[in-house]
Point group: C2
Chain length 430, copies 2
């Protein structure tokens, strides 16, 4: 069960952070072998791996339009409406991320600007398994579509019957995914990185996965294919004062704990009674969860921590850089103002993490494992790159040219100076 | 000398692209050894490597304030004024990249927004060697300062006398660099990644370098330290019609060719006379360059290509994804509208690349090697991450809660549903 820690000294904080993850032995060699085989053998390697790992050799790697159309029938109407609402909120929030940038005249005759352009082909990986992560389809395909990617390729493993969960197919069909392939694991990442006869190579790869997928995403960066972000187990940190609702806080901690045995959750509070009451609620609620054993394992890595002050809570949180941060205090925005490292922040008693996981409109693909210090979550920008432009007129080159000549000289780049000199000379001769 | 190619068939285009780079044999093992040694031995490893590679064991790794103050005396006043102008333009363009994002109400009672926060500590690497790349100090330290990084750590190798070029120190002193260390190569990257007794570990590492530096930057990403972008040799592609000025185009191609023997330059035109005249100008101008032998080597990888139409020129360019693209045509903006892959684009006869290298205001740290397909150049955002926030009121959770419950159920995450359910229940009971 989760432990209670009181007034930990600052030097001990980091010892509470993320237990070291144990990598499967030989993982890197195994994944390297998969990458190389897919690169050289293409589709036939994908089919072999499917037979080996998914227990089925699909007749076709690409999911047919018929299967996609059929899938819709398996989605109940109320769930369709729920997904449609989530989709709309995600679209509203992400569309606002598309902004026009102004043209800046830095010196008379020198205009500079930037233009955002989508990457042409985005690759999305959606894990298989019992729980169909259709919400992740929304969170990745919608920003890609809003960015304007020409192709949105999705890979997901088939089940034992050679099929993809209908919820995944339905979500893909309403979010702009252009092609769906039945292939999973490291081999799917390899297929999207290198391209095969069926699967097109993409410009960037997104999405969660197991250790094989994660390692493959890490390794294909060496081939120049960027990925959304480094992966790690999911995390939640709650900062609560005495005005929080223990039942809510406990439910939030448990919602994160059920994700996986390596999840980590923290409650920090300046109120000892709050901590005791949350503990009581956790013990009460955990028995109702189908994934109780997973949650129990996760709670072993976790803690309820009593601090002297809110200042300490915020400092701990910034040092930890949580993926999710709930602030359940009287004035959440004043606490939020102190947050410098976090993936996504939830303010007030009614902003539960699971609302953000599905439907507030923010993206749920977030930096874990402390990467919130130097990475952002997925956004429309994740599917775009920015090109800079400049237009220098005759007046402009007269204004900045002599300075460029001096600097090029100082860097001993005579050719750089000359490119300006020939232009200034021609203007003097006019 | 540079070759002329006429009407190449589409299938042959890619064979003209970037010759394969040859990696020094054993590079990865050597760099791994350096990373490990710096990680375990800290400063003493840095000093040993300096003795070995820089030919000097500096008395102190940190550059003293006195040295920095002294440096200013070695910078001529006219160069100071030139640097000051470049600095101002870079600041004007980069400051405009800081924008406030609106709060978006996605559903009544559900507000979402993003906030940009600087990474705390930025690390900047500046190579040594004969040419002092002070312009790169401006291009990296100014955006970091504008982003608001708390620490901007700069590493650069000492010369044989244990000193840093005064231009580098001067540029650092006027751009907000907070600490300067005399250490170079892969060991400098390791120091900024892991931290040593003297050098603080940073959140992200920027800057150019030789094969050792590049490989070290590639490898430290495995430890979760992001870098600005993957590196490669510098490139320029010029699209010119008959209205271009051959003397200018030749000077531009040569300014890029002098960078290094592995640089690559292309001219594409729909006008055969333009190609012949540019070739003539190249042959004329190249003899004036102190770095002629470097430029000659680079021209061996390069080509002047005659295409049937501007459309083909643009298509070739987008496929190649050049670091720098000059458009010297009658209507450069109509050609620019078709550009989807490029680092930085220069419009018109007076927009030479070297102007952008120093002083237009755009950043000169750009994606090479085809990475312009999926990476942006350095900007203020490179030194920041974005945190999402959401605030859900009682009304908000009533609006989106039931949909979240349905979706959590469909993903078999009962704990996620429960976090919403306890809130909805409490509101019904009120």
């Amino acid at each position: 069960m989760i432990k209670i820690i009181k007034h930990p000294v600052r030097d001990s904080w980091e010892s509470l952070f993320r237990p070291a993850q144990i990598e499967k032995s030989g993982l890197e060699e195994k994944v390297r072998h998969i990458l190389n085989r897919v690169r050289s053998e293409g589709d036939s390697a994908l089919l072999d791996y499917s037979e080996k790992y998914d227990g089925v050799r699909p007749e076709s790697l690409i999911v047919s339009y018929e299967e996609i159309r059929e899938a819709e029938k398996f989605v109940p109407d109320d769930l369709k409406r729920a997904i449609s609402m989530a989709k709309e909120n995600i679209e509203i929030f992400h569309r606002a991320q598309i902004t026009d940038e102004p043209v800046i005249e830095t010196t008379p005759g020198v205009k500079c600007w930037r233009k955002s352009i989508p990457v042409e082909k985005a690759g999305i990986y959606i894990p298989g398994g019992t729980a169909p992560l259709f919400s992740t389809v929304l969170m990745l395909a919608l920003p890609a579509t809003i960015a304007g990617c020409r192709e949105i390729v999705m890979c997901t493993p088939p089940d034992k019957n050679g099929r993809v969960n209908p919820l995944i197919l339905y979500a893909a069909s309403i979010t702009g995914v252009t092609r769906i392939y039945m292939t999973g694991g490291a081999q799917a990442v390899a297929a999207m990185a290198f391209g095969t006869e069926s699967v097109p190579g993409v410009d960037k790869i997104f999405g969660p996965g197991n250790q094989y997928v994660t390692k493959a995403k890490e390794m294909i960066q060496m081939y120049g294919i960027p990925v959304d972000m480094p992966a790690g187990p999911s995390e939640l940190l709650v900062i609560a004062d005495k005005t929080a609702v223990p039942e809510f806080v406990a439910a939030d901690l448990l919602s994160q704990a059920e994700h996986g045995p390596d999840s980590q959750v923290f409650l920090m509070s300046d109120d000892e009674e709050m901590i005791n009451r949350v503990l009581y609620e956790i013990e009460k609620q955990i028995h109702t969860l189908p994934r109780m054993s997973t949650a129990l394992e996760a709670l072993e890595n976790s803690a309820l921590i009593l601090f002297d002050s809110m200042i300490d809570c915020i400092e701990f949180s910034n040092l930890y850089a949580p993926e999710h941060l709930i602030i359940a205090t009287t004035e959440p925005s004043s606490v939020a103002a102190g947050v410098i490292n976090a993936g996504s922040v939830f303010l007030g008693n009614y902003s539960c993490e699971s609302a953000g996981d599905y439907a507030t409109g923010t993206n749920h693909t977030l930096p874990t494992n402390g990467y919130a210090r130097n990475y952002s979550g997925v956004s429309v920008e994740s599917f775009m790159k920015k090109i800079t432009f400049q237009e220098v007129t005759q007046e402009g080159i007269k204004n900045i040219g002599p300075a460029v000549e001096l600097m090029a000289d100082a860097e001993m780049l005579a050719g750089h100076r000359n490119a300006v000199a020939v232009r200034l000379k021609s203007l003097r001769n006019e």
